[in-house]
């Protein structure tokens, strides 16, 4: 999907007369005008919080294979050269080396390692510098500019990471964090964001007055030397929008809330910083017992963290496991400001939302089920989506209500729509999936916010994998059966069964990921699981992991989710 943005100048810190500074955010001229101009009451706290949002937007924990092209070319050249040299020089050199074998100094290894470390440090520093300076590379790092929304009670900034797995939303209470706004226009827009702006955030100090200004007026900016008019067509990566929207829709579902103390979050982050899981399972496990302090266990070390000072007051549940725990490191900068952290859990392998409470601010970190947010693992979330389509009349009704009031609680919206809770939840889920509604978890309200200039439909999100769609159909038709299930060595789960008339064998690892599979279908015969597992393997995996949807109506679906999330 292509997104058109146009900015008047760059976002940045503008000095005014009298030493006051204004943090001017250039707004997208292609969208509705949004204005905000107020002084920052707690600039240091705002600085730290917005810098944490920066960590979210640049986080990319996907596996990056090493680029071996130069090495291969060098190897080929070297091989041909060596062949030449070896034939004539081998004997002579061998003798020479044996006769004059130099004594290796004892500190040679140490010096070599130190120099090599220095080399790689400088090289990665150089790569990072290139990444910061080169606009095209920056666009790879940050596919889409952040979105800012000015609402009646709050201002919030949203971003989604390049690896399509982390979502960040910094919500700031207008009354507590800002002075009075001289110009105010409610709405949502993109703001120009760059590494230079992040550097400007670092200059916020309490002894200098700083204003936050969302500048919608290109003309005014020009007259004050705001900069040139820039237009850019952003080609969003495949799957980026789908990942973002799926996470948004997941946010609207009923979830189980666990409150962690700051000390527990610090210990988890400190452990993750110092340890790297080299083998599965790599999950973060929540062990929750009513009336007890919540416990978080990090696999594979089985390191247990108890959140002292908080209690879990929900219903008993089996341990919930989530993956991609290293993404939580984005919260590291918030620790000094954090009061507590609410974790909203949908279930094992499902997205989770970490809401760091910081007085007048809160940062929501949304994590997809896996760091690699590919379609085969995304199927887990599909099982939680409402059955059937939402009627256009109901969608229009909810849209009108939310547009008018801008923020409504679930009960208020349901009362206004005059429908049952299941239909209301399904409608909100659909609106979130199209990028029009955000669920403010901490405030418990649904806000009207159009993340894109237009409602996002299936055409923009991109079509789903045909194998995934077919697997869902097989599950719905109940054409799947597990014949046997064996736990093999290294906790491997060997599942044998039938799916849509095909005989299927499946090996799942401790994280539930497909390691190997056998199927008779043509898709599998052509390329095995290299091109993604076939529909039969996916259906059997969903069955084995208990992800098969069984709801017949939205009410049944909503009640099932409520039971799962009962606090």
């Amino acid at each position: 999907m292509n997104l058109d943005v146009a900015y008047q100048g760059h976002s940045g810190l503008v000095s005014a007369a009298g030493g006051a500074r204004s943090l001017r955010l250039a707004a997208n001229l292609q969208r509705e005008a949004v204005a905000f101009d107020a002084s920052l009451r707690t600039p240091l706290r705002f600085r730290e919080a917005i810098s944490a949002l920066h960590d979210v937007v640049i986080s990319d924990l996907r596996f990056k294979p090493r680029d071996r092209e130069a090495y291969d070319a060098w190897k080929r050249a070297e091989r041909s050269r060596e062949m030449q040299v070896q034939r004539t020089e081998y004997e002579r050199l061998k003798k020479e080396i044996l006769d004059n074998k130099p004594e290796i100094a004892p500190e040679f290894e140490k010096k070599y390692n130190a120099l090599r470390r220095r080399y790689w440090q400088l090289r990665s520093k150089y790569s990072m510098q290139l990444m910061r300076r080169n606009p095209e590379m920056w666009r790879l790092l940050m596919p889409c500019d952040p979105v800012v929304t000015v609402a009646d009670d709050v201002v919030f900034f949203e971003c989604f990471s390049a690896d399509q797995s982390s979502y960040g939303c910094l919500t700031v209470n207008r009354d507590d964090a800002f002075g009075s706004s001289s110009s105010l226009q409610l709405g949502t827009t993109n703001v120009d964001y760059s590494w230079a702006l992040y550097d400007h955030f670092q200059t916020l100090r309490s002894y200098r007055e700083t204003r936050l200004k969302v500048d919608p007026d290109g003309v005014a900016a020009t007259t004050t030397g705001g900069g040139e008019h820039r237009e850019e067509k952003i080609d969003l990566p495949d799957g980026w929008l789908r990942g973002f929207m799926q996470l948004q829709s997941a946010m609207t579902l009923p979830m189980r809330r666990v409150t962690l103390s700051r000390d527990a979050v610090y210990s988890i982050l400190a452990w993750l910083k110092r340890h790297k899981a080299h083998k599965s399972p790599r999950a973060m496990r929540f062990s929750l017992s009513p009336g007890q302090a919540p416990e978080v266990i990090l696999e594979p070390w089985q390191q247990r963290f108890t959140s002292y000072g908080t209690t879990y007051d929900g219903s008993p549940t089996e341990p919930i496991r989530i993956w991609g725990a290293r993404r939580v490191l984005s919260l590291a900068r918030l620790l000094p400001l954090m009061e507590s952290c609410d974790v909203y859990l949908l279930g094992t392998g499902m997205p989770s939302f970490w809401v760091a409470r910081m007085g007048e601010m809160r940062l929501t970190l949304g994590l997809s089920g896996w760091t690699v947010n590919d379609w085969s693992s995304g199927s887990a979330l599909e099982a939680l989506l409402p059955p059937g389509e939402v009627g256009s009349g109901r969608l229009q009704s909810a849209t009108n209500l939310l547009r008018k009031d801008r923020a409504l609680s679930f009960d208020a919206l349901q009362a206004a729509m005059v429908c049952n809770p299941g239909d209301c939840a399904a409608t909100l889920n659909q609106l979130a999936l199209s990028g029009q509604v955000i669920h403010d978890l901490a405030a418990g309200v649904y806000r009207w916010r159009q993340v894109m200039p237009m409602p996002v439909g299936p055409a923009e999100i991109g079509s789903e994998s045909p194998e995934l769609v077919a697997s869902r159909r097989i599950l719905q038709q109940r054409h799947t059966a597990i014949i046997s299930r064996t736990i093999g060595p290294s906790s491997l789960d060997i599942v044998v069964g039938n799916a849509d008339g095909k005989s299927v064998k499946l090996v799942l690892d401790a994280d539930g990921a497909i390691k190997r599979g056998i199927c008779d279908c043509s898709h599998h015969r052509r390329a095995g699981i290299r091109r993604g597992p076939c529909r039969h393997l996916l259906a059997l995996r969903a069955m084995a992991l208990g992800q098969a949807p069984e709801d017949k109506s939205t009410t049944e679906w909503y009640n099932r989710l409520l039971r799962l999330s009962k606090n």
Binding site: R87, D263, Y308, L329
Partner: protein, 591 residues
């Protein structure tokens, strides 16, 4: 020849030809009927229209991969020879050089008498087949009925662009044209040769050995060089010679030494598409026109300095060293040069500027702005010039303080040292200026500013306002240094309340600061003992240390709590509130 080409292709090309349509060449290249093409070429070669001549050159510059087009090439070439059309002959000569292609291959040799083996490189001819025929046809085996692929028929003889014998002949004949021109009309030779030299592209010399295939080029530009041995058809390297030794050694050198040739060489050096030709022109200029180069206008050489071509700006930098007119260049031109020069040329540009421009001609503001640039050579120049200035007024100090925003890593520490020596001196100390250095985005600047703070005579060492500002820093390196500093000395009293956020940040930092965390815990305990009324602020931070998964932190935290409780037993309530899971067991009295 491919007989299955549609007959209307040539009709279309002829229509475009008569209408002077730009689609003519693409349409012509699709025609494969050599007989009809020959008839058409007979008409085209006599066409004297300017458009037609341009089309001939464009056609000859195209990739030689059209089936059946040999008659067109031959006819155009021969007619151009007859008409003395240097432009078309030059295009033909370059095409013929492109047709000869040798690649380096390695072969294995064995000498039976001595029973030794070795490998050696040799140049083998390549003659890629022209696109001919269609894809393998699908058919069925008449006996088994199985589907099979029927291979396409073998390519006919005209599926290559001339045989190698013809190619060598065409190369020799093209060079003969230029050779005879040098004798018959020497005043035209250089112009014609320049036309030829401009026909070569860098892609023609993608591998070094391809240079040896360019008969006409080597005859023209390197005929007298001892590293080359010119045979009847091929050119080889002389014994001990290598392509790396090649320097300009043209045939008819005297013709290249005239004033007109000098202008042509300058033009060639500036605009020739091939690097080999540009370097050749520079070498020839240096060999035969050194006096004329010295009298070139400085503005022309300065313009060359902004070229993206490394050879060109290196040549310009060499020439500028002895140029007598450089002192008359206005200041704005020099500064413009810095903006326009490519990054790789900046060291040379800065060297030229420094040797020809006095720092007195620049204001302090201009010098500082240069020092704030990112490229090292410019920043170093700006800093050197800034240091040569006399700093007197308040505005001057304000400008010097701007060096806190230095972006060049290489000069960051040096710039900070110099600037702090001025704005941080006891006589001129200004906390507004100095705090800019603490807030710098450059770690080098912050490091040197901290060193300034720790020196004996530092005027800011006891400035509470400076420390209050310092404690608001978002940078971990400064926070850790503050914790280290507190081990040695205390901060001014007014700054101490700002320490809690620093201790919190250090203790809850997950990225670094293992040693400082223990110090911060001790300092927190001391503060708690000194100010028990601040327990509500300090104990939550200590609680994080006590509950830390890292054992050294947890031990230090427990020790801090216990020592605080021992000194101030009234803290027990606050400790119980913040650490309910901590059970304090009073020490048993000794028996």
């Amino acid at each position: 020849m491919a007989k299955d080409a549609p007959a209307h292709d040539l009709l279309l090309a002829e229509e475009y030809y008569s209408a002077e349509d730009s689609r003519f060449i693409p349409a012509l290249r699709k025609v494969t009927d050599s007989n009809r093409l020959a008839q058409f070429a007979d008409r085209w070669k006599h066409d004297q229209r300017i458009w037609s001549r341009t089309q001939k050159v464009e056609y000859l510059r195209g990739e030689p991969n059209c089936v059946g087009h040999q008659p067109v090439v031959k006819r155009l070439f021969k007619q151009a020879e007859e008409d003395s059309d240097h432009t078309v002959v030059a295009a033909c000569a370059a095409l013929f050089d492109r047709l000869v292609r040798h690649v380096k291959r390695t072969r294995y040799r064995y000498h039976w008498p001595s029973r030794t083996s070795w490998t050696e490189d040799y140049l083998a001819t390549t003659s890629p087949k022209l696109p001919y025929g269609s894809r393998p046809r699908k058919a069925r085996n008449p006996f088994t009925g199985e589907p099979i692929d029927v291979p396409p028929p073998p390519a006919p003889k005209d599926a290559i662009y001339f045989s190698y014998r013809t190619r060598y002949y065409l190369q020799r004949r093209a060079w003969r044209y230029f050779r005879r021109l040098a004798f018959r009309a020497p005043q035209q030779y250089v112009d014609a040769a320049v036309l030829l030299l401009r026909e070569y592209r860098d892609a023609d010399f993608e591998r070094g050995e391809r240079i040896l295939d360019c008969w006409t080029l080597l005859q023209l530009a390197f005929r007298e060089h001892p590293a080359l041995r010119f045979g009847r058809e091929r050119i080889r390297l002389a014994e001990g010679g290598s392509l790396g030794q090649l320097t300009a050694a043209p045939r008819f050198r005297k013709l290249w030494q005239t004033t007109a040739a000098f202008d042509q060489l300058i033009e060639l050096m500036d605009n020739a598409p091939s690097r080999l030709v540009r370097v050749w022109a520079m070498q020839l200029l240096a060999q035969d026109h050194s006096e004329r180069i010295a009298s070139l206008p400085a503005a022309k050489l300065l313009a060359l300095l902004t070229s993206e071509d490394e050879d060109l700006w290196q040549f310009a930098a060499r020439c500028l060293k002895d140029n007598p007119h450089l002192h008359n260049i206005p200041l704005e031109a020099w500064l413009e040069l810095i903006d326009q020069a490519p990054p790789t040329a900046l060291p040379a540009v800065c060297e030229v500027i420094e040797s020809n421009l006095s720092a007195e001609r620049l204001s302090l503001q201009q010098c500082v702005e240069l020092a704030l640039r990112e490229p090292t050579s410019i920043a170093q120049l700006g800093l050197r010039w800034s240091r040569s200035k006399s700093i007197q007024s308040e505005d001057d100090y304000e400008l010097v303080a701007r060096l806190a925003d230095v972006r060049c890593v290489a000069i960051a520490e040096e710039a900070a040292d110099w600037a702090l020596g001025l704005v941080g001196s006891r006589a001129e100390y200004d906390r507004d200026h100095v705090s800019r250095f603490f807030d710098s985005l450059s770690p080098g600047v912050r490091r040197r500013t901290w060193a300034w703070l720790e020196c004996d005579e530092c005027p800011g060492a006891d400035d509470p306002v400076l420390f209050c500002r310092l404690l608001e820093t978002p940078f971990d390196d400064l926070r850790l240094r503050v914790v280290d500093l507190l081990e040695r000395r205390n901060l001014p009293g007014e700054a101490r309340p700002g320490l809690v956020p620093v201790w919190t940040s250090v203790l809850l930092g997950v990225h670094r600061g293992g040693r400082q965390k223990l110090k911060a815990t001790r300092q927190l305990a001391d503060e708690l003992i000194r100010h028990p009324e601040r327990a509500n602020d300090l104990l939550p931070v200590l609680a994080a240390a006590v509950r830390s998964v890292r054992q050294p932190e947890a031990r230090a935290g427990v020790a801090a709590i216990v020592s605080s409780l021992t000194t101030n037993p009234q803290l027990a309530g606050a400790v119980a509130r913040n650490l309910p899971e901590l059970e304090i067991i009073p020490a048993e009295a000794p028996a």
